[in-house]
Symmetry: C2
Subunit: 202 residues, 2 copies
């Protein structure tokens, strides 16, 4: 006798919602989730009626729908790929904080292979400068004289710690620049790990 149980629902956070073919990329992510026994929920899938709303009203309606969707999900898989600079998309970072605060597991993946410190070095127009008398974990500054975390982590320590503490993990991939927001190899590896973890908890 088999018992049919609902698959764990997973919120798919990431800046690919800004792609021209976002709906297609979202469908591909949901399909990968399904192959691994997860019910992926892509933010653009909510059936929102935005007609007649001002741009600001549209934005708030989208945000509220995303929060409702997060609350319907058991976990999140967040795309940490660098977004308009060395760091991740702030909207996705917000969603990690939201899910973490709800006590739900969060997983992360990135299509850039380098940890945060090396990304800041690589993305900086000017060379980093040494900060005299500093802790070894913040020995260099950028052109704005902001110190750069050097903990060997994939992202800002709040993000990485939240993911680890929540029971999740981070997968770092590597793609060509033009495939950075569409390649799903690291995503699939992350889905595999999330599926294992979420199944073991049932």
């Amino acid at each position: 006798m088999t018992r049919k149980t609902a698959r764990p629902k997973v919120y798919l956070a990431g800046p690919e919602v800004f792609l021209r073919n976002a709906v297609e990329v979202g469908a591909a992510k949901v399909e990968i989730c399904a192959r691994h026994g997860l019910d992926g929920k892509f933010p653009l899938d909510t059936a929102l009626k935005l007609d007649g709303l001002t741009p600001a009203e549209q934005a708030y309606a989208i945000a509220r729908a995303n929060e409702v969707l997060m609350d319907q999900c058991d976990a999140a898989i967040a795309n940490l790929t660098p977004f308009r600079g060395p760091g991740m998309d702030p909207g996705t970072a917000y969603e990690i904080g939201f899910m973490r605060s709800r006590g739900k597991p969060v997983f992360g993946y990135s299509n850039h292979h380098l940890p945060l410190f090396d990304r800041v070095r690589k993305f900086s127009a000017k060379p980093l400068t040494h900060r005299p008398g500093s802790e070894p974990t913040m020995a260099f500054e950028d052109a704005d004289r902001l110190g750069i975390e050097q903990f060997g982590l994939a992202e800002n320590l709040m993000i990485v710690s939240a993911i680890n503490d929540s029971g999740g993990t981070i997968v770092m991939g590597r793609t060509k620049r033009r495939d950075r927001y569409t390649d799903l190899v690291a995503f699939e590896e992350c889905v595999r790990k999330a599926s294992e973890m979420l199944e073991s908890k049932r």
Copy 2:
């Protein structure tokens, strides 16, 4: 007869923790809060013992301490000033999500006067390109072919919506580039608004 009540505790989130004189800037923020009847809590003020820990262990200890501090606070004031690109610091975005998810009011301020769309245009090395057949709220793309939100908001819609829905508000300031992370004029205006709102709830 007077009754002495505890002042509302406010978590002071922002990338100024990366400044060389972060402790001093934090003290100035706490002092401004005190003048407006708020008990400001700056992340670096937690008395953490990091000796003998590996860099990763230090990072996790800092993150956990920040989360404990957030849970002790009644509200947050977040610095949305652009950080290594047109967008805000992902660590601060995380903290906004965390506090929002806890149902606490979040306020924001920025030392850059332009809304997100105009900042992306200004910070982009290459001109933005038009996205054919697109919604007017995402009519332009950056060099990575990511659409740029055009809702007239200060930041990503999740951030702005969360702040507004929580009962908070956003103050946009304008400073010289070199004062971007230290100027506290917009911060003080934000503290004033937060104080009014938090007092009215007591």
